[in-house]
Amino acid sequence: MKVNVLAFGIAKEIVGGSTVEVELTSDATVGELRAELEEQYPRLAKLASFMIAVNNEYAVADNALQQRDEIAIIPPVSGG
């Protein structure tokens, strides 16, 4: 399946836009998405950390993804 992933902050600069399309297997997990993103965009792996959010919640590696999920790359936050 193809998923659209939102990107913010420095992640937007790394992937070259505010969304990026990623091709995954139909039963892909958050961990597999992370691995795919790091392979396509090695600069992501050089960040202090990055999280994946699914439907506005922080997700963990074994969470399953659906095509219609709202998925986002969350680089280290720095509000306040």
Partner: protein, 138 residues
């Protein structure tokens, strides 16, 4: 009661304080974040804030609810700016009202400390000779 807002307009400190004031509260604690003119000795010309808006609102709501569970606090407000801010402008206001001051101080500190760890908002520091996303790299 909780009031959470993200705005691209200047934040209004006195209206935030007015909102938390309450006859049953004897203490109001306010944290105001301001744009500092330098980082590690280097002059900052402006900051740029970006938010993942709906998730940031959700995460701030969670923090406020946690604070109200942990301490006897009546009202808690979090307002955060987005967009371009100049030195001296206000990116964040947290205001807490409680019957007694200890709870207000503790809840206010918890709120700003947790916001900085979990809320998906990012700031970019802009210098004379470049710019950097704060905290992005180890």
């Amino acid at each position: 009661m909780i009031d959470i807002q993200i705005s691209d307009k200047p934040l209004d400190i006195s209206s935030c304080i007015d909102w938390v004031m309450s006859p049953d509260c004897g203490g109001i604690d306010v944290f105001i974040g301001t744009v500092r003119n330098a980082t590690k000795g280097k002059e900052v010309t402006r900051l740029e804030f970006e938010a993942y808006r709906q998730m940031a609102l959700n995460e701030m709501q969670k923090i406020a609810e946690q604070a109200l569970e942990k301490w006897p606090v009546q009202k808690l407000l979090i307002h955060h700016r987005t967009g371009v801010l100049q030195v001296g402008e206000v990116p964040v206001i947290i205001a807490v009202a409680a019957a007694h001051r200890a709870a207000a101080f503790d809840a206010c500190r918890y709120t700003i400390d947790t916001l900085k760890e979990t809320v998906p908002i990012w700031k970019r520091e802009v210098f004379e000779d470049g710019e950097v996303w704060v905290a992005a790299h180890p």
